[in-house]
């Protein structure tokens, strides 16, 4: 048992108490009967109140404030940046670049979604791109389904490319010390290949049949993307801060800065620039509104989850589980990487990848001694990232971005149903995992 453990209620075994609390929390999250933040917080409180861990240890060692800070900082930056209309500008500009050709627009919007998603969280990306997509497809008089489907994939694939693109990567980076550059070096190339490979079947299934009249295309070409920019001053400020934040991530290692510090610095700078010209009352109103756009449900979900997972880690459950995994794979690192990749992908297609990754991180860390230390298990982190992020594409409930797009499509009168989505998405997800599998083998184990 971990040194940070307290005295467990009624003298029960902390191993079984923590495992029971973890299992109940997990099942409750999967069933989605209650908001996930409420479940995670209750799980965390019970883990402390039952005596498995102390509050002090939970907050000091369990909660990853680097992840929370990075998420919150980026959410504030996006909340301010999006007000200037830059994202609509890019989406419309990209559609016009291909002369409003329906297939060309699908490809361009997929690329735009993937690139945005690499730097913003996936949900924000689809909230920005999907409405413009619905607008363009309505003008073109084409079915928006292939576009929205592709954007779901592009969001989850693009998010895999960088440290800040998807919460699993943020958690992995924070827990392991892997930098922004490490993620770009190890994941971005394979992510680019996966995105292009995904577009091939989409072309044969939908793309080649897409067509629009010359009149409809002319309507899209009449869009003036410059008029999407609502605040040119804020645009310049936001782009400058975003560029500095990304530069900060690139130089984080030599600067000895954690990602949360960089994101928070960017958020503070942009808040300052957005507010200093206004009077106190307006500032208060604007800052309140910006903070209101932070996804507090996600933040509190993370907070609770970190404590729940720390509970089973402290009680030795994850170490025990790690040993079983190592036994199963015979201590073979390549096999372990493949197992992590495929299990993560299948699991993430069914359950939320955040609790899964939160559990897997300490589990993989527990395997390090068997493979000769942390420096030797780096491929396992890439396997976890690829599996957890790309697996979300497998089903409509696999990732938050999928559900957001489905909800929006439903409200616009173009419902995305679970089964038709599954029939197309699951094989495509397996394709991406197959490519990842080959990549891991060729790059790290040949």
């Amino acid at each position: 048992m971990h040194e940070s453990a307290g005295h467990v209620l009624f003298g029960l075994n902390p191993f079984w108490v923590s495992l029971a609390l973890f299992t109940v929390t997990y099942v409750a999250i999967v069933t989605e009967r209650l908001n996930r933040a409420i479940i995670a917080l209750i799980g965390a409180v019970l883990m402390i109140m039952s005596g498995v861990i102390t509050q002090q240890a939970a907050l000091r060692d369990g909660v990853d404030f680097n992840t929370l800070g990075l998420l919150t900082g980026m959410m504030v930056i996006v909340a301010i940046t999006r007000k200037c209309g830059i994202f609509q500008y890019v989406a419309v500009w990209s559609a016009k670049k291909v002369n409003a050709d329906p297939w060309g627009i699908l490809v361009m919007l997929a690329l735009v979604t993937a690139v945005f998603s690499a730097f913003l969280d996936n949900v924000t990306t689809v909230l920005l791109v999907a409405p413009v997509t619905l607008l363009i497809t309505e003008e073109l008089k084409v079915d928006p389904y292939p576009y929205l489907f592709t954007e779901i994939f592009a969001a989850n694939i693009g998010g895999t490319a960088t440290l800040i693109g998807d919460p699993p990567n943020i958690m992995i980076g924070s827990a392991t010390g892997l930098t922004f550059n490490d993620f770009v070096w190890h994941l971005t190339p394979v992510v680019a290949v996966i995105l292009l490979a995904t577009l091939v079947p989409i072309y044969f299934f939908w793309g080649r049949k897409l067509s629009a009249t010359a009149e409809a295309r002319a309507r899209v070409m009449q869009f003036n993307e410059r008029e999407a920019i609502t605040d040119p001053r804020l645009l310049k400020q936001s782009l400058a801060v975003l560029a500095l934040v990304i530069l900060g991530f690139v130089l984080a290692h030599p600067l000895h800065l954690e990602p949360a510090t960089i994101a928070m610095a960017g958020a503070a700078a942009l808040l300052l620039l957005d507010n200093f010209a206004h009077n106190a009352e307006r500032q208060s109103e604007q800052v309140h509104k910006t903070f209101g756009e932070v996804e507090w449900v996600t933040i509190f979900f993370f907070l609770g989850l970190f404590i729940v997972v720390y509970g089973i880690e402290s009680a030795g459950v994850l170490k025990w589980l790690a040993n079983r995994v190592v036994e199963l794979t015979g201590g073979n690192l390549a096999l372990t990487a493949q197992a992590i990749l495929w299990v993560s992908a299948i699991a993430s297609a069914i359950v939320d990848n955040i609790p899964f990754v939160a559990t897997m991180i300490p589990l993989i860390q527990s395997m390090a001694p068997v493979y000769g230390g942390m420096q030797h298990i780096e491929p396992l982190w890439w396997a976890l990232s690829l599996g957890a992020c790309l697996g979300g594409n497998g089903t409509l409930i696999g990732a938050s971005a999928n559900l957001i797009v489905a909800g929006m499509a439903e409200r616009a009168g173009y419902p995305i149903r679970f089964l038709p989505f599954l029939l197309m998405a699951f094989p495509l997800m397996l394709l991406s995992i197959g490519i990842s599998s080959g990549y891991l083998y060729l790059r790290y184990f040949m």
Partner: protein
Amino acid sequence: MTCQTVMLPDPVTVLDSASLASAIDLLFRHRIKNLPVVDTNGLYKGLFGIHTLVRHVLPRAATLDGDTHMGDLAFVHDSLENLKERLASRLGEPVLRFADTALRPLAPNMSLVETLLHLHRSHHNLPVADPDSGRLLGLVTYWGILTMLTGRPA
């Protein structure tokens, strides 16, 4: 004084199965901004009016409920012809599709002050229905309230 005492009884209504075109005809004929949609039993189903009609002439993406981060539509340059075409393509659809069905009717025994507060918040005339049966009883209109407050003839 209650909601029932200030409402307009027997307002112009439209059947839920009527076409959008016939509902628009009623707006023109009676020079009114909105009218309650009812079924064949007189049960209230929603409120149709110019404000709900305009929503359906705009691109759907612009009027999605919830937070879609759409921003404004300054970059869209649909002509009047485009908008008329969009409306014309839907004139044969049932009016209920274009009504605000989420708007809850007022109860007839609601106090006068509460009625005015609802009117102030909603920005359009409000239906009054029996809370038990759902039967439409009348319509609280801006003109009706103005007439009552000023004592001037309608």
